[in-house]
Amino acid sequence: EAGVAQSPRYKIIEKRQSVAFWCNPISGHATLYWYQQILGQGPKLLIQFQNNGVVDDSQLPKDRFSAERLKGVDSTLKIQPAKLEDSAVYLCASSRQTTNEKLFFGSGTQLSVL
């Protein structure tokens, strides 16, 4: 089966600019996650979707980050305006259900904010 697709692979922007990341989960996977991985740390969950509804966005900095999952398939994560501390790898993952299921990860988008 095709894996989780993410684009772009790399992005460099100036601070205060906006940026968007795209994720296409594995077909049929109802649950989608966005993780932020800062250099030298493990991934941290930003937001979890079940179909097109938000399950948990408690760790999403809502003043600058937003995410949507239209029609319960593709998802977009946006940052506006970006800060230096947003430099990280943004990983998308998906699973069939919310519990007790293996997560499949994409290769991430590496964001550098200058």
């Binding site: 493990g42 991934p43 969950l45 979890q48 997560l103 990860f105 994409g106």
Partner: protein
């Protein structure tokens, strides 16, 4: 809140030898799952092995096995017959058995394999 601690930022092992990566966690829950993920330079997180807390038997997957000590809240990964392709970042992760399936990761251990 759950925490996951990996105390070894870097480890190295000779090819064909055995290495053990350490992980401790803190939780008040009795039902949970523990994982080891591998992250090569491609950045894709790959599941290596999974352990259910209610199972006393340690999980094994080919050359990979865990030593799960529930009372001590310890979950180490043993890699036997190390291969060059095992070189990567390894992350220990935890998720609650109840509710949504959200992973809490440690900071990772960088494993180098010496030919």
């Amino acid at each position: 809140a759950q925490t996951v601690t990996q105390s070894q930022p870097e480890m190295s092992v000779q090819e064909a030898e055995t290495v053990t990566l350490s992980c401790t966690y803190d939780t008040s829950e009795s039902d949970y799952y523990l994982f080891w993920y591998k992250q090569p330079p491609s950045r894709q997180m790959i599941l290596v092995i999974r352990q259910e807390a209610y199972k006393q038997q340690n999980a094994t997957e080919n050359r990979f096995s865990v030593n799960f000590q529930k009372a001590a809240k310890s979950f180490s990964l043993k890699i036997s017959d190390s291969q060059l392709g095992d070189a990567a970042m390894y992350f220990c992760a935890f998720t609650s058995g109840a509710g949504s399936y959200q992973l809490t990761f440690g900071k990772g251990t960088k494993l180098s394999v010496i030919p």
